[in-house]
Symmetry: C2
Subunit: 234 residues, 2 copies
């Protein structure tokens, strides 16, 4: 494989990961839309898209493994591919979180819709924004942008803690609203989990970008075992 074709396969991998990220983010937004509207048909859509996300996860993993096996890339490219594998796993679990949210929405069908002291919409848009930003940081090789994701995670954690206290008070004071409050609390927790996955991605980006700074160390070590003719093969 030429260097050009190798670069192309890395670009394809990146492209696929972006599709994966878009699908995961959409799954969360749909799940929250289902919660807002109590529309079960949207829940079904989320479950179907989660299956597509799982298939895409396996396909990205396989592609990454194939590149590793056939190209044996070193230093910076190696770290890139490993970052893809890790980010991929986190995105798949964002899809899982979306399905978990739809399960709570289904639970809620038999109960009346009530006002609750929790801004699910705001948490969801923060969490979705974190997924988007962490992927943008990955694409743009931007550790500073990745750092802002970690700050956003603190906000989501705070919102989730507040939701926990406010909703447990609702349950204590109006036990008849327990199902609604409990499901809202679970959804808040799932969104906090999505934010955690975005944080994992951001940390991987930071690790990857910083790793690039130590590539001198790696290439020094690589040099020891450089083989004549290797450059022709890449």
């Amino acid at each position: 494989m030429t260097r050009l074709r190798f670069q192309q396969s890395l670009d394809d991998l990146k492209e696929k990961l972006l599709v994966m990220a878009g699908m995961s983010e959409q799954a969360i937004q749909r799940a929250i839309e289902a919660y807002r509207t109590r529309d079960i048909s949207i829940c079904d859509l989320v479950v179907r898209s989660e299956m597509a996300i799982n298939r895409l996860e396996r396909s990205i993993d396989q592609m990454a493994i194939d590149i590793l096996a056939m190209e044996q890339p070193t230093a910076i490219d190696l770290r890139f591919i490993l970052a893809v594998i890790k980010i991929n796993a986190d995105l798949e679990r964002v899809g899982d979180a979306a399905v978990t949210i739809t399960e709570r929405v289904r639970d809620l069908q038999v109960f009346q819709s009530v006002e609750l002291p929790v801004d699910i919409q705001r948490m969801a848009s923060l969490a979705a924004g974190m997924i988007r930003k962490s992927l943008q940081a990955f694409i743009e090789f931007d550790a500073e942008l990745a750092q802002t994701v970690l700050t956003m995670d603190d906000s989501v954690d705070r919102l989730n803690e507040n939701a926990f206290f406010a909703l447990s008070n609702v349950m204590k004071q109006k036990p008849e609203l327990t199902p609604q409050a409990l499901n809202a609390l679970m959804i808040s927790r799932s969104l906090e989990r999505v934010a955690d996955h975005a944080t994992n991605i951001a940390e991987d980006v930071i690790f990857w970008v910083r790793g690039a700074d130590v590539r001198h160390y790696l290439s020094t070590n690589e040099a020891v075992r450089d083989r004549p003719g290797e450059s022709d093969l890449h």
Copy 2:
């Protein structure tokens, strides 16, 4: 590096991952012990060990990357190292789940201990058993054993669903027990999360073992780019 030294570095990696698994499992067991006894000093211990787990995670990742970069292993060894990287990430999150449980234990300090319709102890020993078995499956290259972990996950899911219904009923009927019931529900959920991580590990083992079956495909492709003298370097 000789083949012997390469094999040694894979064994070292495996050994470190086993230490990581032992620490994660212990963190869960300690967190549940803290819940049972309401002993805050055990919570502190869990938090400290989580920091050690995080450090070990980074160190295993770095070791795996170094082996990949310097040895450029193919097919079966490559899949092994990738499995280590993925399992490592799951184990680290088991440590996170342990810390989450201790946060709930701290919350409970100001409330009276009460009997609740949930067998946290049983869920915890199932979840810890799943971690142990999935690692054993990894060590013994045993896809069938990994398969039993997936079945155990169904049991934990069922226990968690039952806990959800039973505890939300407690909250509805005895609102004064809401804090205790809610915290038990959150702990049950964290244990379900631990079981999910064990399931991820088991799935990685299955993927890895099955991947070994397709190594013929990989080595055929590898043969195309075999370089003279390469075997001397390994």
